[in-house]
Amino acid sequence: MTYNLEKLRQSVIDGDADSALELTRQLLAEHVPPDVLINQGLITAMAVVGKLFEEGEIFIPDMLVAARAMQCCLDILKPLLSKTEVKPLATVVLGTVKGDLHNIGKNLVRMMLQGAGFEVVDLGTDVAPEKFIQAIHEHNAELVGLSALLTTTMTSMRTTIEAFEKSGLRGRVKIMVGGAPVTESFARQIKADGYAADAGAAANLAKSLLNL
């Protein structure tokens, strides 16, 4: 069955949380299944947001309010999900590496990953390798995202990945990296699986790394 979710998608893209919430309630009342609202409405809208951001057509404030609008809708849809047995695409453990308190870039990546349908475990900033490892085990994560702001702190990405290798996790999880000083070649050097230039690209990279 097809549903007309265009207005809902546009409300999320515009960051109009009130309108998105009202439309979500209205569509639920019209018996549109919550998983359809999420997958064909919210996630599709956030994919458009990510693409527009990557193309330089919208900016961080636009992305944040779009993610906020999506989150408002998710807050009323998620409690309904167990009934329809919808599962996230995968679980991602995300954090800014040890010694680095940079938060914004990592938060944007979290929002875009959530917007793409991933379950995200956000460990925050200044995260030690052992904390990543613990979270990967605890949440059975398939993907890890490492963020760093500075040339000096991005070296913690290397030590984090080395810790994954030592703990035997390396073959079990995919690793993506990003942040101001990080480059594709640095990602290869430290044996990460992928590099994303910004939050918009991160969601696409996550899907590609997991063949989703």
Partner: protein
């Protein structure tokens, strides 16, 4: 410890300005930094000059203007070969933003590092804005008087402040600014205009001093792939103030330099085009190779604006000596012809730049045959 200091420096700020304006071909490589980390300065001071640093180790912010500190600061910039020393204001009655401190992880780090708390803000509502002490904030003139007394012949100070950075780092906070751009645009505009006026008043009161060579305004506008807010919003909120600051400097026949990190080169006209045409900056500082290397910016914009610095922070921090020399010479080869260029780091001499690499940058500049 590498030998970093010159015995007989010959600073000449006026010549630097003529070179940057294209009025005179360079006779040597002029050096520029908008900042050298206090830890780096302290290490050079104590190792090369054998005099204790005026500030306790790990203390980066003065509690009040301190002439001994400024004397050391000016002397180090002088002995390192700079034509000017960048001077930050000492703000009086300015509520402090929240910072967090962690131990530095860099191999070269000599202590801790302060981080702006990105989720915190001084102004979260109209009520906060109304009660903020806008009228009471001013830059202490003693700072600039003290520096003026310390400057050797030929050397000047440039005066520094931030507008956009102060709004997103302290006044509204990153997240606060980004959400308020949608939720309360008037509050955002009012905060920009009130802090813009504070900065304007400070620049106005100091630009006439003979010891002040010009304004070196610092406002990071972007990140690797774009600007933090849209170019349209930058034009509306920030550029009118930057243009006023530039006009003020020009009225006193002094230059307006601008530092901004980030990708300002997307689309056409780019933000860089705006800075040149609308703001009328005289020189631009901050380059990251992952965005656009200074050599490419020189080729694209070098006829229209002077460029300052250029050596990518990652390369400056990580390259082995031989590779670093090749890299630095490549910049000088591309950017020195035609003048309108002064050399230095792409950002600052941060505490994680190995001193040997900083010495290599200085030596390459000093030995370059024009």
């Amino acid at each position: 410890m590498p030998d970093l200091l010159l015995d007989h420096p010959t600073p000449n700020f006026e010549e630097l300005v003529r070179v940057l304006k294209g009025e005179q071909p360079p006779r040597r490589v002029h050096l520029v930094e908008v900042g050298i980390d206090p830890e780096v300065l302290q290490t050079i001071q104590e190792a090369c000059l054998g005099e204790p640093w005026a500030l306790p180790r790990g203390v980066h912010v003065l509690e009040k203007p301190d002439e001994r500190y400024y004397r050391q600061l000016v002397n180090l910039y002088y002995r390192l070969g700079y034509d000017f020393v960048p001077i930050w204001p000492f703000w009086v009655n300015n509520p402090a933003g929240k910072v967090r401190r962690v131990v530095g992880t860099a191999d070269e780090s000599r202590g801790t590092r302060d981080w702006v708390d990105e989720s915190e803000a001084l102004i979260k509502s109209r009520a906060d804005f109304e009660s903020f002490p806008w009228q009471k904030i001013y830059a202490a003139s003693e700072t600039f008087e003290m520096v003026a007394r310390c400057l050797p012949d030929g050397m000047k100070m440039t005066i520094i402040a931030t507008l956009f950075e102060n709004v997103f780092e302290y006044l509204l906070g990153y997240e606060g600014l980004f959400y308020l751009m949608s939720d309360d645009q008037q509050l955002v505009e009012d905060v920009f205009n009130h802090w813009g006026k504070v900065v304007y008043d400070y620049y106005s009161s100091m630009i006439g001093l003979e010891a002040v060579g010009g304004i070196f305004h610092v406002d990071d506008m972007g990140f690797k792939t774009g600007t933090m807010i849209s170019p349209a919003d930058l034009r509306r909120l920030l550029f009118p103030w930057l243009a006023k600051y530039a006009a003020l400097a020009h009225k006193h026949n002094k230059p307006f330099f601008l530092h901004s990190c980030g990708n300002l080169y997307r689309k056409s006209p780019s933000v860089m085009d705006d800075l040149i045409e609308l703001v009328e900056i005289d020189a631009f500082h901050s380059f990251q190779d992952v965005i656009v290397p200074v050599t490419e910016v020189k080729a694209r914009y070098g006829q229209r604006v002077a460029l300052l610095g250029g050596a990518d922070m990652d390369k400056l921090s990580t390259l082995a000596d031989a590779d670093l020399r090749v890299y630095l010479r490549g910049i000088l080869e591309a950017c020195m012809p035609g003048g309108r260029f002064a050399f230095g780091s792409g950002n600052t001499i941060a505490n994680y730049v190995p001193l040997q690499n900083y010495a290599t940058l200085l030596v390459e500049a000093r030995q370059w045959k024009v």
